[in-house]
């Protein structure tokens, strides 16, 4: 049963990483937007309501253009991504939903998902966003 014990520990770690990430991500989004792009990998892609944005510079520009925000997350789920898909690079799927009020706009419901990867450096492990997909639940209306 060693494998399942390890998997349980792994799931546990995944949840803690996801919880911590979500707190930091939305806090940075709302209050320190100018450093938000630093949470992304250099080659990360964001699909924002069908608009694709790739790379640090483009992401920085995109986030500057977005009105200021107040996010409220009320659901968070996460899964460890299978190693066969990630070539053994520790990766977590994070799914959130909640409400957001962008300045000058009405409050809307959203769903968002991220792939986070653990980047090991000689001294520590830093989590970065590899992909980010955001949609309003009523995007078509």
């Amino acid at each position: 049963m060693a494998a399942s014990v390890n998997f349980k520990t792994y799931v546990d770690q995944t949840c803690r990483a996801a919880e911590e990430f979500v707190n930091i991500y939305y806090d940075t989004m709302d209050k320190r937007r100018r450093v938000l792009a630093r949470l992304y990998l250099d080659k990360a892609t964001l699909i924002w309501n069908g608009n694709a944005v790739s790379g640090q510079e483009a992401l920085k520009e995109f986030f500057e253009m977005l009105p200021s925000s107040e996010f409220q997350v009320n659901m968070l789920d996460c899964q460890p991504v299978h190693e066969q898909a990630t070539q053994s690079q520790t990766t977590v799927l994070v799914v959130t939903c909640g409400r957001v009020k962008f300045d000058g706009n009405k409050q809307r419901y959203f769903t968002q998902n991220f792939l986070l990867t653990a980047q090991a450096t000689p001294t520590s492990t830093v989590w970065k966003i590899a992909s980010d997909c955001f949609r309003f639940q009523d995007w078509a209306s």
Partner: protein
């Protein structure tokens, strides 16, 4: 004294599906059509072929402030994994379905459904040689039980690895089910479902 520090208030326009390439569009739409034809068939056992041995699956619904048993999503409540509210590691682990057999057994227990393929909007979020990650947004209705004909909205994340020449094998599956909004209910199932004799790949309107 006036300073020009006008903050932006305009959001970028919302767009339809993002596939990244025509090849991916064909691949993903063919997969979804096959997947949901089995998922909606009344017996989801056939989905065993779609999942990897070590696949994971979980379900979640929005946080409910009212009594969950009275909620319209009550059939989904007991399987719902909201890590923001569930702090017990044992329960968190239990609600993450792991291995192919457990995943399909779990899906088989969920209410029987009919998905509106024409409502689907797909975002291909990430693609590498070993991974394809995409989100499907759309509506379905229940075809059985006390919520028969109730339309619901969903977002589902699939992460798949390549299988065979053109196939996909699911390693991660996260299903989020919510109330449909008025606009979604109005538009749901207005287009006839694609018939087997029509084009093998459904076209998305958006």
């Amino acid at each position: 004294i006036v300073f020009d520090v006008e903050a932006p208030t305009t959001l970028p326009p919302c767009k339809g599906s993002y596939f990244g390439s025509d090849d991916l569009k064909v691949l993903v739409l063919r997969f979804l059509q096959q997947y949901y034809s089995v998922y909606d068939s009344g017996d989801r056992q056939g989905l065993l072929d779609a999942y990897h041995d070590g696949a994971c699956c979980s379900l979640s619904i929005p946080f409910l402030s009212q009594n969950p048993s009275r909620s319209i999503l009550s059939e989904y409540f007991k399987g719902s994994r909201n890590v923001k509210k569930l702090k017990d590691p044992t329960l968190r682990f239990k609600l993450l379905k792991h291995t192919r057999l457990n995943v399909v057994a779990f899906l088989n227990e969920l209410p029987k459904t009919q998905h509106d393929i024409n409502s689907f909007v797909v975002d291909v979020c990430a693609q590498t040689n070993t991974l394809l990650c995409f989100a499907v947004h759309g509506v379905f209705k229940e075809v059985d039980g006390k919520s028969r004909d109730v339309v619901r909205g969903f977002t589902r994340m699939f992460i798949a690895v390549p299988a065979g020449i053109t196939g996909l094998c699911i390693v991660n599956d996260q299903l989020f089910v919510r109330k449909a909004n008025t606009e979604e209910i109005r538009k749901a199932f207005v287009m006839p479902a694609p018939t087997p004799s029509s084009s093998p790949v459904p076209t998305l309107s958006a």
